[in-house]
Symmetry: C2
DNA sequence: GTCTATAGCTTGATAGAC
DNA sequence: GTCTATCAAGCTATAGAC
């Protein structure tokens, strides 16, 4: 065929890249069209609900990735510190060594529906919960575990902002290196 | 007069609020017009260069604020730890206790000119330099001081992202409380 | 399933009255 | 210095051919 169907997996990945990089308002259909190679009308065939449905699919896609690559591995049996080392590697991949922004950051800017912002908040809550879980497993009390989880995600988000502004990935790598001690003690 | 001139100080402050909150692409002239009470044509009278000149003025305005309220106080004589406690209070005001976003975050999204992104990078570099300076004054070596500065700004940026997503300012307040130990040792 | 063409609205920007 | 009125370009979204 001249225009073979683009697989759903490839499509949503490319759409997600645009929303992650540009945020909701910056992710215009023209840019999404350019990034995916599909014309706008074709995008509406795949996402009849338009931009709202696209960004919802992006959030679901990212949630699924975190479930499979981060949350589930953390719930498996094994030494907490080693599991955190493992998922730190997954996060390096997800953020392309710090060169890609976090959707929680870019999609939390004011643009988009209230449902979008609730979904984004839900994603962050799930992430906090997963990190709190592994900190508890390491022996931290409830409050201490929650604090470690918040601290770890704060440093991930902050280092990604620095990386974007400076065009320098070193702060992100340093944070990933420190992730095991951030979550599983050895901090104080 | 029916329409008295809005003072430059008031105007730029309101314009800055919009750009900080919405980012470059989200800060449409309609929203700026609504926030300032000036029609679009009046905005062009004040900023003949249009949106580009507006955002440049915002960056200058923020730079000036940081110079006066953060960098200069850090350069004055006094105990480093006490100076950091002082500027932490200024930062709480600037970020409205964590409820306002950082312009470095929102304005570093892809929208806007290359000059804008270079200016934003310059602002962050100046901030890093000021924080590195006070860490050195506290006795840290060059590399250690720079690391403390990066770490402090990472945690500020990260806690502001969490605050925006969750609508919860506690992580930001915790970071402000920890700022003295982050910059002036007592960390390890 | 993809495309071209188009509708209606919003955007950044300008002209000209007061 | 502010306003109303307007423009061309970009936006989201839809209709209909292949």
């Amino acid at each position: 065929m001249a225009h073979p169907k683009l697989s759903n997996e490839d499509l949503i990945g490319k759409v997600a890249d645009v929303f992650r990089r540009e945020g909701y308002e910056g992710a215009s259909l023209s840019r999404i069209s350019e990034a995916t190679g599909l014309e706008k009308a074709s995008l509406y065939h795949r996402f009849p609900g338009g931009k709202n449905e696209m960004v919802a699919a992006v959030v679901n896609h990212v949630n699924q990735w975190f479930q499979d690559q981060v949350f589930t591995p953390l719930e498996r049996s094994g030494k907490p510190t080693e599991k955190v080392r493992f998922i730190a590697q997954r996060l390096r991949e997800f953020y392309a060594d710090g060169s890609k922004s976090c959707a929680l950051d870019t999609l939390s800017l004011p643009g988009g529906s209230a449902a979008l912002h609730e979904a984004v908040r839900g994603s962050l809550t799930a992430w906090l919960q997963a990190f709190t879980g592994v900190a508890r497993e390491d022996g931290a009390s409830g409050a201490e575990a929650r604090e470690r989880a918040e601290q770890a995600i704060i440093e991930i988000q902050g280092s990604l902002v620095l990386a974007r502004v400076l065009g320098d990935c070193k702060p992100f790598h340093r944070t990933m290196d420190r992730l095991p001690e951030l979550l599983t003690g050895a901090r104080e």
